[in-house]
Symmetry: C2
Subunit: 373 residues, 2 copies
């Protein structure tokens, strides 16, 4: 499913085409997060115009609301939401651990209480594959046990054991998927911040031989150095020919770091979440539009940006919208941030194609993190 087109000679960065049921995806690619089947504050048309080929939906949220009956009635998550390109859905595991008020994990699966109405539900490795089959996810993720940094090795090993057992059960269920559905199953490397556990996880996953592999349990509160160390260590162990996914990555520095280590796709709520709070990307770093300093600023967010927000609106007007609590503020800021990231990814792919990714990384980083405007 992954056709590697170009490799950067000085690092593991690569350009590839990933073939999925709803079309081909140029990688490295950032996936905007559409938790409940909508990338917050964005028209689908706009995401299409920006060239996004793959977005993320959250299984936990979609399962609880609108619920599987509604999706089944529509035919698929794509038809329900009118997004006719690819969806990656997560397994719901992360949300069960972060959102539900009560949860109980067993060998069978995880029982949890909904954050919406307190009702009880159970996710098993099999049921989660089944849910994603109903969604018709183009990439589906196995249910895993998420752990936080700082747990003991014994706890980490226990969680990994369960994760790997669940991955095998998920694969088995996925092999018996309904005819006509060809979504790809990705397994997830865990092992917390213990290198030998990470290694063991990768080895078992290679043996399991799912179409793609994700690195989980990173960007969960650890230091940046620790992230870099464990990303580099884990990524190097992955088989080159399979798609590599790092979950929860959306800042330029983490994206660049991931691409350098051969990661193909990543997702994060970060660009859309900060936008709703008036924080936007520029080539010179983040700015918070709410700030007093923009009161009379008639420049666009970023004068070099070609997005529809920057083509039309001033910082002064955008600041006003945020100060007044007007919905158009988040709409325009989200539009800008996602356009900015789509363009960033294009530039990354271009630099790989021209064998100068590390140079691009350095130049971008200096401008973005060096001087604040």
């Amino acid at each position: 499913m992954l056709e590697i087109k170009e490799k950067d000679t000085s690092c593991r960065a690569r350009n590839a085409l990933m073939t999925l049921p709803h079309g081909t995806v140029q990688t490295p690619a950032f996936m905007p997060v559409g938790t409940a089947g909508t990338v917050k504050a964005m028209f689908h048309q706009s995401l299409e115009d920006m060239g996004y080929e793959l977005i993320l939906g959250n299984t936990y949220h979609l399962y609880l609301r609108p619920g599987m009956e509604v999706i089944r009635n529509a035919g698929s998550l794509h038809k329900f939401t009118t997004w006719d390109r690819n969806y990656l859905t997560d397994s719901g595991g992360f949300q069960v651990f972060s959102l539900s008020s009560r949860r109980k994990i067993s060998e069978e699966g995880v029982r949890f209480s909904s954050h919406i109405d307190g009702s009880y539900h159970t996710f098993t490795p099999e049921s989660v594959v089944e849910i994603q089959e109903t969604l018709r996810s183009d990439i589906q993720m196995v249910l895993d046990v998420c752990t936080a940094p700082g747990i003991s090795k014994r706890e980490a090993e226990e969680a990994l054991k369960t994760t790997m057992s669940w991955a095998r059960r998920a694969k088995k269920r996925w092999e018996n998927r309904v005819e006509g559905y060809d979504g790809k199953l990705f397994s997830i490397v865990q092992g917390n911040f213990y290198k030998d556990l990470r290694k063991r996880s990768v080895e078992e996953i290679i043996e399991l031989d799912t179409p793609g592999i994700a690195i989980g349990g990173l960007s969960v509160g650890e230091s940046k150095d620790e992230f870099n160390e464990f990303l580099a260590y884990t990524a190097e162990l992955l088989p080159e020919e399979k798609p590599h996914y790092v979950m929860g990555i959306g800042t330029p520095d983490y994206i660049l770091e991931s691409v350098e280590h051969g990661i193909d796709i990543f997702d994060c709520v970060y660009p859309t979440r900060i936008a709703r709070n008036s924080t936007v990307f520029t080539r010179d770093g983040l700015i918070a539009l709410k700030n007093q300093q923009f009161q009379f600023d008639d420049q666009p967010i970023d004068p070099t940006c070609q997005c529809s927000t920057c083509q039309r609106y001033s910082r002064s007007y955008l600041r006003h919208l945020f100060k007044a609590g007007e919905m158009l503020g988040p709409m325009l800021a989200t539009e800008h941030n996602l356009f900015f990231l789509a363009n960033f990814m294009k530039e990354i792919r271009q630099s790989i194609s021209e064998g100068r990714f590390l140079e691009y990384k350095k130049t971008f980083t200096e401008a973005y993190y060096g001087a604040k405007i």
Copy 2:
């Protein structure tokens, strides 16, 4: 400024072209309300695509936030907000009466406390003209005293006296507007629900000879019969050659009633406000998308509607968006409601042009108010 093109022979309905500094407006026209310089949840591009030529801004809100310095810096409300077509701004009088926590009226003007931060400000007939001059409003309204239904005739007469005195002062100030600014001043008929006071108000306004005339103090809580009675009574007294404006009208029945009596323009937050609460227009009447009955409904809001929402999205998905509190819900519903009204106004003008307005009114009303879906 008003060129009457066609008149319906069986009532006072008329099609006209109203020439304003930012282009010609086809009337009868509905004006979406952009309180703080943004029609809530709408991109300006979308309003342009729908053919809106005139929108409303609220002087009270814009004066308090972003404030006149910011508008002056941008050059005009148009430049600040990037809306290059016409703006009508109200006088702020209505908001002073409905929003500010404390206010004190005198012959000089009205002193009030901001609903945002409690700060004190004074509007005089002259300062309100000046503010709207800074906004570069294409139509500006005189400051008036708003009264509620049910007050005594003596109170109504007192308020009218002040309103008329303020109108004369406003006109004087407007005649001394800065060179290069050619926004039109509209005076406002008051007189509460007393016909002789209404008549007196119109007579004084005819003598004052402002470019346009508004009927104020209607749709303020009175019964529909009372509205119809006072609308008909007041509208008939207005000079035919001037633009007629009724403030606060946005439901199909009130619009049809107003057009029948020769009203050219009207505004209301109604279509955009109900949209944000999931209520949308259809030819068969209002529906509330949040309702359970739409859970599995894969039809568009209105199968006959050509708006971008109806071209793409199902009621089932829209219901989900509203249930999940997603911003895309209000965005899509607002888009639909404003498209629906723009199309409604086109049909009204078409029916006038073909001399069958009353027939159109009857047919539309029967479908819209007759059977609920």
